[in-house]
């Protein structure tokens, strides 16, 4: 009886533990190990030390994909926080058709990325795409969208007749198109999280503010925004982590990260090096760098959170 009691808890844990150790823990460790070796398709080669890492350091394509990914995160984050907060605020105020509107806003999130990538690729097509029809309707010039390697700032200033230096060009319009679609896909999730956060804020604050004569907009900035900040940090963290892993859009909507590599994101770069070029050791080294970046940002946000939150 006594020994049975000691073993029993482990028996409950065993199935999950075995699967996770085998298919998660070992591969994660292997990633580190492989990154130090010359690794072809399936056979391990010479030990290379940090050679892959120093090669990555000089690899322009790697830096370009890192930069592209940073642009994605930089642009997607504010949009993925501000818009959902507004949506949630609106959804929280209505009485009729609540379920209907929530369903509509959440729809993109449940649908598969692969399928909506196809849809957005066609939306962005130059000839008969919806995006260009919309521009036409607004009376604007049609764009090349996914085929446009020039930066959005370059294009913007060009339309004003101003030429700006190349390094100030910003992300390509092609990448920006992908960012719009990626933000659209994730808005619903963040909205629902914010909606739950809003419902946790006590009505008493708003009633007190009403008595004090504070307007709706002041209430939003002085009550809602600070009290919702734990949710904001959660949304920030999730959006950052998910953005860094963007892959399917690039695979489906672009020609191998083109035009001119301007839409090549870091996970696509890893995929290409590993499964197209079959340089798996090198790809693993890039994956480890990505992991360190994500981990660093996660810890940074946690620290910020503990400083800001009440």
């Amino acid at each position: 009886m006594k020994t049975k009691r000691k073993i029993e808890p482990y028996l409950y844990l065993l199935p999950a533990l075995v699967i996770l150790l085998l298919f998660r823990f070992i591969p994660i460790l292997m990633s580190f190990v492989i990154s130090f070796f010359d690794f072809g398709v399936t056979d391990i080669g010479k030990f290379l030390g940090f050679a892959h890492y120093s090669r990555l350091f000089g690899d322009q394509e790697f830096w370009q994909s890192m930069m592209n990914t940073l642009w994605l995160v930089l642009i997607a984050l504010p949009a993925s926080i501000i818009l959902p907060l507004i949506f949630a605020q609106l959804l929280n105020q209505i009485k009729w058709l609540k379920g209907f509107f929530r369903t509509i806003y959440f729809m993109p999130f449940v649908t598969s990325l692969v399928a909506v990538s196809i849809v957005w690729k066609i939306i962005y097509s130059e000839q008969a795409g919806l995006a260009n029809m919309f521009l036409q309707w607004l009376g604007l010039e049609p764009q090349l969208w996914l085929a446009e390697p020039r930066g959005i700032f370059t294009l913007f200033f060009q339309s004003l007749g101003v030429q700006i230096p190349g390094w100030m060009g910003g992300p390509s319009l092609a990448l920006f198109s992908i960012i719009i679609m990626t933000v659209w896909k994730g808005l619903g999730y963040n909205t629902i999280i914010y909606l739950a956060g809003l419902q946790n804020i006590s009505k008493a604050y708003y009633e007190a503010a009403d008595i004090d004569g504070a307007g709706k907009i002041r209430q939003f900035f002085n009550i809602t925004v600070p009290l919702i900040s734990p949710t904001t940090f959660y949304v920030l963290l999730m959006t950052t982590i998910v953005s860094f892993q963007t892959f399917a859009q690039i695979y489906m909507m672009t020609d191998k990260g083109g035009p001119l590599g301007t839409t090549k994101l870091i996970v696509y770069y890893i995929y290409e090096k590993g499964f197209d070029k079959l340089d798996m050791g090198y790809a693993s080294a890039a994956a480890i760098i990505l992991f360190i970046v994500i981990l660093g940002l996660t810890l940074l946000q946690r620290r910020l959170e503990s400083k800001v939150n009440y």
Partner: protein, 331 residues
């Protein structure tokens, strides 16, 4: 009065933003029902319309392309029954222009796009594969997670904290980090290109374990004390107390698991190669390459591949949204 104004403004904004959220789907659906030539003409944005010429050849009507008219005479290409140009189409010159008439139909729905997409690619196989993988994964996830969460929430054992933090830290590692090493690892098992590779690595889910653990911890201790006095075994408590009281959270986890497997892409793309093993998302990605110019067929394929998930979502919209809200915040 101000209140009514505020409410209408809120609804107006919700409708505008909401339209932006669904417009890709509306367009997907309408494009999936157009003919390719209609799409290329770029006139019918949301309601498919169709314009074609008909040649009235002594009482027999043919769909034709009007190539040119010279005075009273027309040059036409006769189309086949599906309205397509067949490779051996016939050209007629000198047909009286009065016999050729423009027909305009709106709405004109071409459901045959769905049939044609299904004919081109074995989507039925892809559906079956996806369903098979999703359901087996779900069953595995539920069994392993309920058991592990029960141990974490209700039992005492050595190394509990250590294992807990081990799981937690593994959850922080995103999939792209270990997809290459997993490929190498599964290759050593000779598991590449098998169903096992798509199912077994995913039958334990750390997030689900934590979700269940949270809930199991919240169950009142008195129930377990009473059961213990009645001589109920540890396993009995799991099946008679914990599981019956956890239907909601089990449903939540099932939804996450099903949506996750249904939509997962990178893993099956990398781990399988044989066409018979393709899941829906992978099949769709190949179709995207093969039929890149056949916009309407692509849209039809996208439509029916997201239909099952949307259907489930519409039916259980309330519960699913509540699940995401709860699970998201607790984490």
């Amino acid at each position: 009065m101000r209140k009514i104004f505020g409410q209408s403004l809120t609804y107006a904004l919700l409708i505008i933003f909401g339209f932006a959220m669904v417009v890709p789907f509306i367009w997907m659906l309408s494009t999936s029902l157009m003919t390719q030539s209609e799409f290329n003409k770029n006139e019918a944005i949301f309601i498919p319309k169709e314009e074609y010429h008909v040649w009235n050849d002594a009482g027999k009507e043919h769909k034709v392309i009007l190539v040119d008219t010279k005075g009273e005479q027309a040059i036409i290409h006769v189309l086949d029954e599906d309205g397509q140009i067949s490779p051996d189409y016939q050209e007629y010159m000198g047909v009286p222009a009065s016999e050729v008439e423009l027909v305009s139909k709106r709405p004109s729905f071409h459901f045959e796009n769905f049939v044609n997409a299904f004919k081109k690619v074995p989507f039925a196989t892809y559906f079956a594969n996806t369903l098979f993988v999703s359901i087996l994964t779900l069953m595995g996830v539920l069994v392993t997670s309920v058991m592990a969460a029960y141990a974490f929430a209700r039992l005492d054992f050595k190394g509990k904290d250590f294992i807990f933090y081990l799981f937690l830290s593994m959850m922080m590692v995103p999939q792209p980090i270990y997809v290459i090493s997993s490929y190498i690892f599964l290759d050593k098992f000779n598991w590449l290109d098998t169903y096992q590779a798509l199912i077994v690595p995913w039958i334990a889910n750390i997030f689900t374990i934590f979700l269940f653990r949270q809930h199991f911890k919240s169950l009142p201790q008195e129930l377990f004390d009473a059961a213990s006095i009645d001589g109920c075994s540890t396993f009995g408590m799991l099946t008679r107390i914990v599981i019956p009281l956890s239907k909601g959270v089990i449903a939540t986890a099932s939804v996450f698991s099903l949506i996750g497997s249904w939509n997962s892409f990178m893993w099956p793309l990398v781990m399988t190669d044989r066409p018979e093993l393709r899941v829906l998302q992978v099949g769709l990605s190949y179709f995207n390459q093969e039929a890149s110019t056949q916009t309407t067929l692509l849209m039809a394929a996208s439509t029916f591949s997201i239909l099952p998930i949307l259907l489930i979502f519409f039916l259980a919209q309330k519960q699913i949204l509540a699940s995401y809200a709860k699970a998201g915040l607790k984490d």
